[in-house]
């Protein structure tokens, strides 16, 4: 009796198709609750504009040559992109990984860990695109965005989403209890929100904070988005873009490597 194995030649779907199928799964699940999931980015900017823009703006003069409320309006298209991607790839990922066992199922089909996580990041990026676009729409209704170039803002949101998806997946790879994410949100994302030139410019800040802000990914996203909103471009933006791309690639690779170890035992 010889021990030959029946060989079956087969071709699994292409990488693009596999990644798209992961993206599509998340898209279908997300849009099931479109109203509760999709409404916040339209409402939140109103609170910001009225609460801070009008309230505080009354006491603030021109910033970089524009009204404070305008300065703020351009800035707030970015943080929702950060927060939605961060939530998706921290709490969301952890729940899919540990509680709902969604990844177990997906990885049993013809998907590998890399497909899964790249799909995850692209979906988070897409959500961020949508969130930035929603905020842009709202602030535009108040005629606070002077340049039509602002239409590219959601692209900045998409890049922001990819950065924070990669970073959050990387963080998630260390997390064993869902409560650990509190450190990430309170310790890293909240300060980033305040010290990345979103609500006030960094130029008047102490030198230490200005240097720290250069390391924050959100700073670079804010720079790019604001440039489009006010149609004022400078060579500095190449550095911002380079930072963003390097950040996505480095943290993306680290996250995939670390989570692969966790998912493939």
């Amino acid at each position: 009796m010889s021990d030959s194995v029946v060989s079956i030649a087969t071709t699994p779907p292409s990488f693009i198709r596999r990644v798209f199928s992961v993206w599509f799964r998340h898209y279908r699940v997300y849009t099931k609750h479109l109203l509760s999931n999709g409404l916040p980015p339209f409402v939140e900017p109103l609170f910001f504009l009225v609460g801070i823009g009008l309230g505080l703006g009354h006491y603030v003069g021109l910033i970089e040559g524009v009204e404070y409320v305008q300065f703020l309006a351009a800035g707030i298209t970015v943080p929702p992109a950060m927060f939605t991607a961060a939530f998706e790839c921290s709490f969301g990922t952890f729940i899919r990984l540990e509680f709902d066992k969604v990844y177990d199922g997906m990885l049993s089909s013809s998907i590998n860990v890399r497909d899964l996580l790249i799909g995850e990041m692209l979906f988070a990026g897409s959500k961020s695109f949508f969130f930035s676009a929603a905020v842009l729409l709202v602030v535009s209704l108040f005629k606070l965005i002077p340049s039509p170039m602002a239409l590219f803002t959601p692209v900045g949101g998409f890049l922001t989403g990819l950065m924070f998806a990669a970073l959050s997946l990387f963080i998630t790879s260390f997390v064993t209890t869902i409560n650990h994410f509190n450190f990430y949100f309170t310790g890293l994302l909240t300060p980033m929100f305040f010290f990345s030139g979103i609500v006030f410019p960094l130029t008047e800040m102490p030198r230490v904070l200005r240097i720290a802000a250069e390391f924050f990914p959100l700073t670079h996203a804010a720079n790019i988005v604001r440039a489009f909103c006010f149609n004022s471009f400078s060579g500095r933006l190449y550095w911002d873009l380079l930072y963003i791309i390097i950040f996505i690639v480095v943290f993306g690779i680290l996250a995939i490597r670390r989570l692969e170890k966790r998912l493939i035992t």
């Binding site: 009796m1 010889s2 021990d3 030959s4 194995v5 029946v6 060989s7 079956i8 087969t10 071709t11 699994p12 779907p13 292409s14 198709r17 596999r18 798209f20 199928s21 992961v22 599509f24 799964r25 279908r28 699940v29 099931k32 609750h33 709902d100 066992k101 969604v102 177990d104 199922g105 997906m106 990885l107 049993s108 089909s109 013809s110 998907i111 590998n112 998912l263 493939i264 035992t265």
Partner: protein, 304 residues
């Protein structure tokens, strides 16, 4: 003989635990092959190694081939040819029954137009057509299991891997699932199943291995194993206290639990002679089964 799966000398150690130790087995095409063993015997780990979710210890003599593919190198090819029914339910609760299947069709790159009739067929096959539009939380445990099996069949797999597929289900559902598995086998699907229901193994497995602490202890067809490795009859005496000196007879093998005494013998008349001293209802004389063999080979004590 042509095989669907060959595994030889596979070992998998986690930090301080050897999950699978020098395990070898061969699975024929279109047979139902069972992995039996107590919790922690290494069954699930072995299944995971076949589809690349778990990597066998390397370097080492271990080899695995599934339809000619090594799971370490060609995980996607194997998974493309296989369907997996996990131990735990992991359906997308937000989506309907039909949508759950559509999403999985996507993972295999199946086009919508091809997927739709396939989904209709599978819903009918698993008797879920009425539930096509239902939400997952509206389904009973048995329906969820059936849906997960349907999901594992979406890509028309040549190999179906089921990890304890009927745990916690009522007898009706269990029998339905067994029937469906027999039908799939007839269609040429190779089936791999882990279970600790001996009835299940006896009903549907052509061949099986019994694993214990990561090692293979027995291998063969269920009927042959019972014939070769355990006495034909067993007398259970339900009240342990009332048993006197019995262990003197060499034709009887004795096993004791906290409350019962079990007497095994190939000669039914020897056991019948023993029953003379007891009232009906105090004893139970029967043919031995796979469960007796299982307990004999893996021990009666808890393995955890």
């Amino acid at each position: 003989m042509e095989y669907a799966i060959l595994a030889s000398h596979v070992t998998k150690k986690f930090k301080d635990l050897t999950a699978v130790e020098d395990l070898s087995f061969k699975v024929r095409q279109a047979e139902c092959f069972g992995f039996l063993g107590p919790n922690g015997a290494g069954k699930t780990t072995m299944m995971k190694m076949l589809i690349g979710r778990c990597r066998r210890d390397n370097p080492g003599p271990g080899q695995i081939s599934v339809f000619g593919y090594d799971p370490v190198k060609s995980e996607l090819e194997i998974k493309y040819l296989a369907g997996v029914v996990p131990q735990e339910d992991n359906l997308d609760a937000e989506l309907s029954v039909r949508q759950n299947l559509f999403i999985y069709a996507g993972f295999y790159g199946i086009k919508k137009t091809t997927a739709a009739p396939r989904i209709d067929y599978l819903l009918d096959f698993m008797e879920l057509t009425d539930k096509a539009g239902s939400k997952i939380r509206e389904l009973s445990g048995g329906m969820k299991r059936r849906l997960i099996i349907a999901r594992a069949l979406i890509n028309n797999p040549r190999l179906l891997i089921l990890d304890e597929p009927t745990t916690g289900l009522d007898p009706q559902v269990r029998h339905l699932i067994w029937d469906k598995l027999r039908m799939l086998k007839k269609d040429g699907v190779t089936i791999l199943i882990t279970t600790h229901y001996m009835e299940e193994a006896y009903q549907i497995c052509d061949r099986l291995i019994i694993m214990h602490k990561g090692e293979k202890v027995l291998e063969g067809a269920p009927g042959d194993l019972i014939e070769e490795h355990i006495e034909q009859y067993v007398l259970e005496i339900l009240d342990r206290e009332s048993v006197g000196d019995l262990d003197t007879d060499s034709r009887i093998r004795l096993e004791q639990t906290d409350s019962r005494v079990l007497l095994y013998s190939d000669d039914i008349s020897v056991l019948e002679a023993v029953t003379g001293g007891y009232k009906a209802g105090d004893f139970y004389l029967r043919q031995s089964n796979l469960e007796d063999l299982f307990l004999k080979t893996t021990g009666r004590y808890l393995n955890e």
